[in-house]
């Protein structure tokens, strides 16, 4: 099983750019399971990003945490 740890932490300095998000979504589709950690940002902002992911028909299993989380063992890691 392919697992990805995706850290989205750009909220404080401005939201992640659309281009970077879209690249992340493309990458996600190669993994069976994606653990997403949002560092900062309001619920509204985070849900907006999740809605984009759902509308893009991401078929991986997503586990989304609010707040800082470290990359678990066995996961590839990227930051947006």
């Amino acid at each position: 099983m392919r697992r990805l740890f995706l850290k989205i932490s750009a909220m404080k300095g401005g939201n992640p750019t659309q281009e970077r998000l879209e690249n992340a979504m493309k990458l996600m589709s190669r993994y069976d399971q994606v653990l997403i950690s949002f560092e900062g940002g309001s619920v509204n902002e985070i849900f907006e990003i999740l809605r984009q992911m759902i509308c893009a028909n991401v078929t991986s299993t997503l586990m989304v945490y609010f707040g800082k989380k470290t990359c678990p063992e066995g996961y590839d890691e990227i930051s947006v």
């Binding site: 069976d32 619920v43 849900f47 028909n57 078929t59 299993t61 989304v64 945490y65």
Partner: protein, 494 residues
């Protein structure tokens, strides 16, 4: 049976925790605002209280909640489905409240459509709000209760961040949670952090052998026979699920549970019941006859949730299968069964674009003919289709809508109900006033055509459908139908 106390309570509001007087279709009344009758009476007809045991456990409960209950109890977790009126005493000791719903905020069809047309909030979302704002839930939340929300409408929470925060929801679970719910609940019980949102993809969906079998009765004897759909329509999320067919042994065990707990009817559930044991999208007689023979061992009153119109046509033309199943299910010439089907559009242009394999094995450009042939077959076989059409598809033109109107007019001679579903694009839901969207002239004409069709058939269908329900509910429903007909005449819609 477990006697409590329960660590996990599984529940929902009254609009779903009901057997709808044994008539599944009456449950749809909760997707609209009350018409003619006051809301309390409307809700009592559509979703009466269900019988419970001394602990407040319903004798029948929604099938999805029963699956979660089975998954948790199989894992040794003390969990039970509890009626919403009996949560209070259990919430004093429970650690998790798991909630399922078909339409938390009335954003899905047909609720969204009734909201758009009437400007009034449907009964289902009002009931859910009352449920989640119960003082006992608020109080338990302060003491550390974890709230997990799921079910087919879980996606709606992503459009309601204020509600998510205000009501203290801990986790949203989207997708088939039969397997993953155990890990989530174990984490909640041991105080580990919970994810705020989980979307179960293909890998996370349970394999056939991982799907738990219900341990207690489901509403109106609903029993799932397969999951997934191979047709790949672009507007439907079911198509993203892997296909899995239950074995006959699995189905029989669930039938036995329902029969032994006193349920007197069976509703076979699948996205397309005729594809049970099929060769791709071609129905096969043997698995279907075997399935129905097993069901008939336990129940006389059997119906289907959904079938596809192309499967109806293929099954009848190649093996007279619809006639054979009808003879098996409907021994008396006065018997009938109802089933949901999807027409969606009468425009071959739109059909090619949005549901290219909906007509398979027939070509999609013959879709209107497939629909008419299937309706004729079902009319002969005394199967009543409750058909949906979708209005407002992205890229829909006035001509597409007019083609659908023509198709609905062509179906006038066939015993059926046709319900237009107003498609609300997900993007529009960001606007808090999304329900103020107004249909176009062509769309309104199509809705009126559906209303004329339905009013033509509904009296005859309701004579059969309502024959064995509570007499008071029958009188009230007939008065609603009479009033709707008079109003339609008054507004010159007929």
């Amino acid at each position: 049976m477990e006697e409590g106390p329960f660590d996990v309570l599984i529940s929902t509001d009254r609009t779903l925790m009901s057997n709808h007087h044994g008539k599944e279709f009456l449950g749809f009344m909760t997707t609209g605002p009350p018409v003619v009758l006051p809301e309390t009476l409307w809700t009592a007809i559509a979703a009466p209280k269900i019988k419970v045991d001394r602990l407040g456990r319903p004798l029948e409960a929604p099938y999805g909640l029963r699956k979660i209950e089975a998954a948790l109890t199989n894992a040794g977790i003390r969990a039970a489905v509890i009626d919403p009126d009996y949560l209070k005493k259990h919430l004093k000791s429970a650690k998790v409240l798991a909630i399922g719903h078909h339409d938390y905020f009335a954003m899905g069809p047909p609720s969204s459509e009734w909201w758009v047309l009437t400007g009034k909030e449907p009964v289902n979302s009002k009931n859910f709000r009352k449920f989640i704002q119960k003082p006992e839930i608020k109080s338990a939340k302060k003491s550390g209760l974890k709230i997990i929300v799921g079910g087919p409408a879980a996606w709606q929470w992503l459009w309601m961040p204020e509600a998510f925060e205000k009501w203290g929801v801990d986790t949203i679970v989207e997708g088939e949670a039969d397997r993953l719910i155990v890990d989530l609940v174990e984490n909640a019980l041991s105080g580990k952090p919970l994810p705020k949102y989980v979307r179960i993809g293909v890998e996370g969906s349970p394999k056939l052998e991982e799907i738990p079998l219900i341990k207690h009765a489901s509403v109106n004897g609903l029993v799932e026979v397969m999951r997934g759909c191979p047709r790949g329509c672009r507007f439907c999320s079911v198509t993203l699920k892997p296909m899995r067919c239950y074995t006959l042994e699995m189905i029989e065990r669930e039938l036995q549970v329902n029969a032994s707990e006193g349920v007197r009817r069976c509703l076979l559930h699948a996205e397309d019941v005729l594809l049970y044991g099929a060769d791709g999208i071609k129905p096969r007689p043997e698995p279907l006859i075997n399935l129905h023979n097993i069901v008939k061992k336990y129940f006389n009153d059997v119906c289907w949730s959904h079938v596809s119109l192309s499967a109806v046509k293929y099954a009848e033309e190649n093996s007279s299968l619809i006639t054979r199943l009808s003879e098996l299910l409907l021994p008396s010439e006065h018997d009938m069964i109802g089933v949901e089907v999807g027409i969606e559009t009468g425009s071959t242009r739109l059909a090619e674009k949005l549901m290219p394999t909906k007509a398979s094995p027939y070509p999609i450009n013959s879709w209107p003919e497939v629909v008419k042939d299937a309706f004729a077959i079902m009319h002969e076989a005394r199967i009543i289709p409750a058909a949906t059409i979708i209005i407002g598809f992205p890229g829909e033109s006035a001509e597409d809508v007019m083609k659908t109107t023509e198709l609905v007019e062509d179906l006038r001679e066939f015993r059926s109900l046709i319900v237009p579903m107003y498609f609300v694009p997900l993007g529009a839901l960001k606007n808090k006033d999304w329900y103020r969207t107004k249909p176009s002239e062509e769309q309104m004409e199509l809705m009126k055509t559906c209303l004329r069709h339905d009013l033509l058939w509904i009296s005859r269908i309701s004579d059969w459908y309502l024959k064995d329900i509570n007499p008071l509910a029958r009188i009230l429903l007939r008065s609603v139908l009479f009033s709707v007909k008079k109003l339609a005449e008054w507004y010159r819609l007929l």
